[in-house]
Symmetry: C2
Subunit: 711 residues, 2 copies
């Protein structure tokens, strides 16, 4: 246990259950001492001004609309669901508007709306609908939404506190917040003590409410768990949910989401109990987690969509606005964060937002730097990780990610050694993300669709090896959670960026090692994606390596002769039942290539293996009666029956199509003559030609000092 961690625990022991600091309101994101400075800031600093303008306009709209606190009845996206979401946003907006203008009408709105809730809340039963597999809420169909509701609402209440009559406050606290605290800690005890992002939201809601209502016992439970022994609660969550590199085990989409209650509650703790130095906890873990979350995006700001992820989510989302502002203002004022804030085009109207907006206005921003890096997973950093390779400017960057992290709990996909490849601002080899139309009522209430299990999580939905038409761990999440891949090597120099990882448990008796690299050769402007995927077993297996691609196949070494009149599924289970088989071709021992045109650039994937391959052309959509699956296409390298198989492929990004001038250049790949010279359990040697130059590339799996050689 490091010194600071000890220090924090010491302070917690010391300070509980003594009374908290004197109650001053507001004291969460915006503090009383700073109100006049922020009021001035919304006149002076463009980004703060713009951000506040939106809030005040929304607050004014809220005031002109009749209040509605409907009986909870609808699932995600439905009317009552959306109304209750809107209500907490209005509460927060009106709270901010009250502090900025001093106009009591905003505070009155907060008070009156909360009185309406207080009149009904205790009467409401558990929500009649239930999000599949999730604990129910009272206001929403899952308790998680109730926690989120309160994290925002308590901020609005704190902001409006001073202008709400004491009698009304008592009604609100006695009949809404106190019953809610009981619901969150007693009825939802299981979630409250769970090391999981739903637990974090529960904890943050309870802890912040505890501070604002001056109920130290709830704060203590939030920080140290319901038994107050530190085995669960906020600190335990920071210890267990993040790796030392600040990676959150569920993946970027949930890291973003999980971060918010961590960050907001940290800020509350820091305001009420600065002596706890919460931002220093675990070597500034929260700061690292925010930085890592930003690094887990492509240059368009979209999070790498592995595991269950909604694909359009970017760091412009509210969670990262909080994260970036607080990281900058309260942890470390890195000027690169200002660049992100500028792209977010929003700050929180708060102490932190004031500082960000002021420093942006003062021209202190520096461009955000995406860095090639290895991000380790696991509470101790020893449970695999993510290799992120990047080449080129933020305007036209090649990015290759190898996913060799642990399973990531219930939202994890069975995609050990999966790669995601981006170039030219777009996905080249994408990840499907989650099968879900979020908040679209007609699509299973906006929840995860059945195809999330039957398709999106299955191994074949990813750019990684499938053995015998099954999935990793036969798609058993509990089994998968127990094992993780291992990172063998990571390197980043001027010529070669490479990451290598091994997985020995996902398919019994099969050892899989993938070594994937961006290699810059002097003959070409852009690096090559050089990928060596080796599978070794005592027994013979079917090995399928799909490349899900975006764009349209415009050339190949074989004549596709796609099925003309009768499409059938590729298989019957583990996701194969969702794939239409469009073509099967045999590529000889000399391998072959496929060229795809995507966003006006060509991508040629050359491939060869140590035995002759089949190439299958695939499209998604079989066994999808409700049209839940999105259009997706793949070419799959397949070996039907062998014990040991090494797939060697090179993907070159080349040429361009200018459809306005109708010119095409560089439509042919400059790479040729891929050869798999030798492949053993310890070493793989391959060669390839770029223009007229022959390159030899060797991987020594056991040589940590010179893992790869290129000459």
């Amino acid at each position: 246990m490091n010194y600071l961690k000890k220090l924090v625990l010491y302070f917690f022991c010391l300070s509980f259950p003594a009374a908290l600091t004197a109650q001053v309101h507001p004291s969460l994101m915006l503090t009383k001492a700073n109100v006049s400075a922020v009021r001035k800031g919304i006149q002076e600093y463009p980004l703060l001004k713009k951000s506040y303008k939106k809030i005040q306009s929304d607050a004014d709209k809220a005031l002109m609309t009749e209040m509605s606190v409907p009986l909870p009845k609808d699932g995600g996206g439905g009317a009552s669901h959306e109304q209750h979401k809107k209500n907490y946003i209005n509460i927060l907006n009106c709270g901010v508007a009250y502090q900025m203008t001093g106009d009591k009408k905003y505070a009155a709105y907060v008070g009156n709306l909360l009185l309406k809730y207080a009149a009904d809340y205790e009467k409401w039963p558990l929500h009649p609908k239930r999000k599949e597999g999730h604990q129910g809420g009272k206001i929403f169909w899952q308790s998680l939404n109730d926690f989120v509701w309160q994290v925002y609402t308590i901020q609005g209440y704190d902001l409006a506190f001073d202008a709400i009559p004491a009698k009304d406050r008592k009604t609100i606290e006695d009949h809404l917040f106190i019953p809610m605290l009981k619901f969150f800690t007693v009825d939802c005890k299981e979630t409250f003590d769970k090391i999981h992002n739903h637990g974090t939201w529960d904890i943050a809601a309870v802890g912040m409410t505890g501070y604002v209502l001056n109920k130290p016992e709830y704060v203590q439970m939030a920080i140290k768990g319901s038994n107050k022994d530190g085995k669960t609660g906020y600190l335990a969550q920071i210890d267990q949910l993040f790796s030392p590199d600040g990676y959150y085990t569920e993946g970027p989409y949930y890291q973003r989401y999980a971060l918010l209650p961590f960050v907001i509650f940290a800020k509350a703790i820091n305001n009420y109990q600065p002596e706890l130095k919460i931002f220093e906890y675990r070597k500034q873990l929260l700061s690292k987690a925010i930085a890592t979350c930003l690094q887990l995006t492509y240059t368009d700001g979209a999070f790498f969509p592995f595991n269950d992820a909604i694909k359009d989510k970017t760091y412009e989302s509210a969670e990262l606005v909080y994260g970036v502002d607080i990281a900058y203002a309260d942890i470390q004022a890195q000027p690169e964060l200002l660049d992100v804030a500028k792209k977010q085009n929003e700050v929180i109207v708060s102490d932190a937002g004031l500082k960000v907006a002021a420093d942006l206005a003062a021209g202190k921003a520096k461009p955000f730097a995406y860095l090639p890096q290895l991000i380790n997973d696991g509470a101790k950093g020893d449970e695999g990780g993510l290799g992120i390779l990047r080449y080129g400017s933020n305007e036209d960057q090649q990015c290759l990610l190898l996913k060799a992290a642990s399973q990531g709990m219930g939202h994890g996909h069975f995609d050990r050694l999966n790669i995601l490849y981006y170039d030219n601002g777009v996905e080249v080899f994408p990840d499907y993300g989650a099968a879900r139309f979020i908040n679209i009522e007609a699509k299973k209430g906006g929840d995860y669709l059945p195809e999330n299990k039957t398709w999106a999580k299955q191994t074949v939905a990813h750019n990684t090896l499938v053995v015998d038409e099954t999935s990793n761990f036969k798609a058993n999440a509990d089994a998968a959670q127990l094992k993780h891949p291992d990172i063998l090597y990571f390197k980043n120099d001027n010529t070669i960026q490479v990451v290598s990882a091994r997985e020995t448990n996902a398919f019994p008796g099969v050892e899989m090692t993938r070594t994937t690299a961006l290699i810059k050769v002097k003959e070409l402007d852009k690096p090559l994606l050089v990928d060596v995927f080796q599978a070794i077993s005592d027994k013979k297996h079917q090995y399928d390596l799909p490349f899900w691609y975006k764009g349209h196949i415009v050339d190949s070494s074989f004549n596709p002769t796609a099925e003309s009149t009768n499409l059938k599924p590729l298989g019957t289970k583990y996701g194969y039942e969702h794939i239409w088989l469009n073509a099967v071709k045999t590529a000889g021992a000399e391998g072959g290539y496929v060229t795809v045109l995507n966003n006006k650039r060509f991508y040629t994937t050359h491939f060869v293996a140590d035995s002759a391959l089949q190439v299958k052309l695939l499209s998604l959509g079989a066994n999808d009666p409700d049209l839940n699956l999105l259009e997706s296409k793949a070419f799959m390298l397949s070996q039907p029956n062998t014990a040991k198989q090494t797939f060697f492929s090179i993907t070159e990004a080349h040429g361009k199509v200018n459809s306005i001038n109708e010119t095409t250049t560089g439509a042919s790949s400059a790479v040729s003559e891929l050869k798999l010279i030798s492949a053993s359990a310890t070493q793989v040697t391959v060669s390839f030609k770029v223009k007229n130059k022959v390159y030899h590339y060797q991987i020594d799996y056991n040589n940590k000092s010179q893992f790869v050689k290129l000459n």
Copy 2:
């Protein structure tokens, strides 16, 4: 014949075969008198400066690269094809660079490269490859490319003329340009005299070469046809290829292309023989044609892609840069054109470009206004036309186009009464355009693919009625060319924009009338697309009305129950063989709806008909062995056996999805209860409900004064 037309012909009689004006070089886009002003302009006016900078940089690159005049051998996109294209661009760039800098190295490049051509040209046979169905060239696989080559090259030659030694000029003229003139007028006589855009390029190349080489007989042939009788040639082309509204019969994609030689040659005529007042010819027809070409785009600048069209083409293309600059500088200085020039972000480095750049710099631009309008087709304006309905700002515009124009010659599609529908910056009901990967060698040399005939041109590939699974005129282009639809009505007021057209020949014995409208009701912010398609016959037929859509179906009045394990084609010919049938559902007499999510907005199409319908869900790709077809999806309303059928549909654009904030609003359509109250050959009455208000909509086909009523 109008007065100006007479005047022009009079001048032509007078002035030929007398010598042309004294030879001064340059005298085409850039004239000697203006050189010093343009030299000053490239320092002063940002857009001219930027445009010239690119030219000089490209010219400098050309000078540093070894000249190459390869033996012509490759088809479109191939190496020799691309090199010869690059050469004419280099010639023009170096010509401009010479005039701007006075540095003779640029002129020497032009002279030397042309000497290389002069050394080989006469030896070259006809190009060994042939673009299917097209006359061969010598430098390129089709003569068209040779004409284009010369239209650019002669400009470069004219610019460099004064600095090329007379001896070299003689060699170039005797062994390249004169033989080329013979090739263009004798070997290619058929094209030269054809009323068709290939003919225009031939004529422009010959006429401009005639001016620069002081060969009046070629100029006269160009203007009045090879027999010099005015039955063919430039003026005959202006008379016959454009409607009085300035519409070019082949459609926008080819209008853009066809315009360039018209405009460039007009500028040449105007410089050499200003007394001909060519820009005044046929009531300023060329000016109208340029304006119409701009109006034939959606707000992203992309041309409406009906008929054979490459879909990403926008008014930023070089042809429209010439068109807009010359229209502004030489015909009429409309400030709206400057807005387009600004978006083009380029001007020609020329007399016209100077004026545009100067006026832009002086802040004279006004926003380009897209106007709802009827554009008549046919040399006399009586062969059908296009109805373009538009609602909303250029930032978020609904646009609905009804295609009821004539066939448009060989590039025409069999798509009578087709609609294209746009909203929110994207296609909602798209047109497939051409089946072609332009300039991609691996895709049939970049030429039209076989699927252009078997799919893209067929009726079922469009958003219009198909009778008995055939195409209009059984896909016979010659038969189709003889007949045109008729516009019944067009109206544009604050509430209703509507266009109605009738086609009685495309399917024997079936009279089809489509009345399509954007109707703004006060209950909604955006207009509704209200579409009434009536087919009347004595005999029973199968009537299929497909809606090709972009996006993903997220809701419908029926359970899709898509085919799970076995996809089969919808039919066997007329394009049906390329369609996979994903689902067939029966909608009762009460009709139904389909909701599509596209670019974060919902589109619900409600439908009802006078008999129960089938709804078929379709995707493209059957019988496509070479993977030539792009992903496309449709829902098709189908009535298998009836004589008279009226399809009534309303498409509402509604709601939005914010995937960054994960909020969804307005996911349900506000429209309901569509009823077809009565439908006869003279009148159709329907009703529908928007929120709680019931609307009655009546169409009286014979009442020109009150064709539609809404109450």
